[in-house]
């Protein structure tokens, strides 16, 4: 990969990571079954999924970028899908509530009425189908973004240092850029989102700009450190 293309890879990958957080249904108060979404911070869940994507993609380092991106996306999607299913199992059998959106009248995909299963005084609970699908889409974007950053950094630094060190360094930098860009949407989501059906999804352009700026600065620094110097 050409160094300039690798620089754009870091920028696009970092921006994708930032935008993906808007798709992942999360809420801190979800742990008390008080709002819709997986019961943790959006950044944290996106990071967890991205890390699994990086791990899976690293196996395919010798097999080309396309397979790496696909395996990263699949591993991230698998992580979010399994977490959603198991969280819903906990809501169903541990708490005794049905997955319900607090903001939608009807589920966009199944058409189920949401208000009839809503505990009074709460803003939804569990992960309904629309949030599940949104989360899986977000995880795919996050996985692709994280792996793109990893591969771009790896191609930038691999000519100058040993392969094992380059893999480790690229992995650490990818984790760093992932978490930086994952944190930025926290300022627009404020700890809670139902995914792409949430009203806060309209604030995605703000995240897009901030992540674009952040990823560009990071990318230029990495490019300068590995190519120019």
């Amino acid at each position: 990969m050409d160094p300039i293309i690798a620089l754009f890879g870091i920028i696009i990958g970092g921006t994708l990571v930032g935008v993906c957080v808007h798709f992942i249904p999360c809420s801190a108060v979800g742990a008390m079954s008080a709002t819709t979404g997986i019961a943790t911070g959006p950044t944290m869940l996106a990071s967890g999924a991205g890390m699994m994507g990086l791990m899976a993609a690293a196996y395919n380092l010798d097999n080309g970028l396309a397979l790496m991106l696909a395996s990263g996306a699949i591993a991230s999607m698998l992580m979010i899908a399994l977490t959603s299913v198991v969280a819903n199992i906990t809501y169903a059998f541990g708490v005794g509530v049905a997955p319900t959106s607090g903001q939608s009248e009807y589920d966009r995909f199944t058409g189920f009425e949401q208000k009839q299963c809503l505990t009074p005084g709460t803003d939804g609970h569990g992960i309904p189908t629309q949030s599940f699908i949104s989360g899986v889409i977000g995880a795919a974007m996050g996985g692709i973004g994280g792996v793109l950053v990893f591969y771009s950094v790896y191609t930038l630094i691999s000519p100058s240092i040993a392969q094992a060190t380059a893999i480790a360094m690229a992995g650490i930098i990818a984790v760093g850029i992932y978490i930086i860009n994952g944190v930025l949407p926290a300022y627009t989501l404020v700890g809670k989102t139902e995914g792409m059906t949430d009203e806060k999804f309209r604030t995605t352009p703000k995240t897009l700009y901030s992540c674009l700026i952040m990823s560009t600065v990071s990318g230029i620094f990495i490019y300068a450190a590995s190519v120019v110097i």
Partner: protein, 327 residues
């Protein structure tokens, strides 16, 4: 990773030979019996790691239910829960796992000549996990003291036995969780041949484990254990938040009793989730019927199956709980 599977090569030789071996052996490498065994072992260890991680976080009221323990004194409920959350579980477990794995990798090279490869890995992992669990315990003490100090305007007392009595539990659960993660990281690097170094794998697994513990098992603690007086089958209304149970069957409720409740559902469910992720991710790489893209195809099939399971749970719960919530 410093030593290969035969225990004779240095790190440089290891990485060089690994790539050569992969090129010549192709995908048949993944069908070796030891690889299949490693996939199963990693999955089993991941189940244990998930269980212990969730119980550790529940004992210390870490993660999101912590907000309820923090709110309780503000609405007049003085309690005897341990309250130690300062960072989220994912960064915390990423840090502890990476610390344990780093110490283990350093010690493994020292132990190698005396104990052989497998035993050196196990022994070094135990020492690494001990170091990580010690850091966790210190962190827990200071976090509890500072959190309780911030509740001074609401007359929340700082009690010595509340600090000291759950400490062995944190230490034990934290030790076991980090030990499992360190061993999974060694397996992933040495047998499953992931190119990332062991400490980085531990960091990645630690972040994922913390995420899953925070997402699944803590619901059982936050929605049920802290609010057992509320009827089963409803979420906790926003207006009731902080109104946690502070009385036990006898005297005040404390954090040592929490795993007694959450180990029956929350802990195993967390273990199931993390174990399934680690196992299914590795398992999909064991097959070769569609060339390089086999794991991708299998992954898509698993995700579609999970979608169907999720939909089934939604339909089941709507039929099962609908009548109750209508009231």
């Amino acid at each position: 990773m410093l030593i290969s599977r035969n225990g004779k090569l240095t790190s440089h030789h290891y990485y060089t030979n690994r790539n050569v071996y992969r090129v010549h052996a192709g995908f048949n490498l993944h069908m070796e019996p030891i690889t299949i065994f490693a996939v199963a072992l990693a999955g089993a260890l991941a189940i244990l790691a998930g269980i212990f991680e969730d119980l550790e976080s529940d004992t210390g009221s870490q993660s999101n239910p912590n907000s309820q323990v923090q709110l309780a004194p503000q609405i007049g409920h003085l309690h005897r829960y341990f309250n130690k959350a300062i960072s989220g579980e994912p960064p915390a477990y990423g840090f502890w796992s990476a610390t344990g794995a780093t110490v283990a990798v350093l010690l493994q090279t020292r132990f190698l000549s005396g104990f052989g490869e497998m035993h050196s890995v196990i022994l070094a992992s135990i020492f690494g996990a001990l170091v990580a669990a010690s850091i966790l315990s210190f962190y827990a003490i200071f976090a509890h003291i500072s959190r309780t100090a911030s509740m001074r305007p609401f007359k929340q007392p700082l009690q010595l036995d509340v600090i000291l009595s759950p400490l062995p539990l944190f230490f034990a659960y934290g030790f076991l969780a980090v030990l499992c993660i360190t061993l999974i990281s060694f397996i992933t690097n040495m047998v499953l041949l992931n190119p990332f170094p062991v400490p980085l794998i531990a960091l990645l697994f630690g972040i994922t484990l913390g995420t899953i513990g925070s997402s699944t098992g803590d619901i059982h603690y936050g929605s049920e254990r802290l609010y057992q007086t509320f009827i089963f089958g409803s979420g906790i209304p926003i207006s009731k938040q902080g109104d946690i149970d502070v009385k036990a069957e006898y005297g005040f409720r404390n954090s040592i009793d929490t795993p007694y409740f959450t180990s029956r559902f929350g802990g195993p469910v967390t273990g199931l989730c993390f174990g399934a992720i680690v196992f299914l991710d590795n398992w999909s790489r064991l097959f070769n019927f569609a060339g390089k893209w086999t794991p991708i195809l299998l992954g898509i099939i698993i995700i579609i199956l999970l979608f169907i399971i999720n939909l089934s749970i939604e339909i089941y719960t709507r039929n099962r709980f609908n009548e109750f919530t209508k009231e």
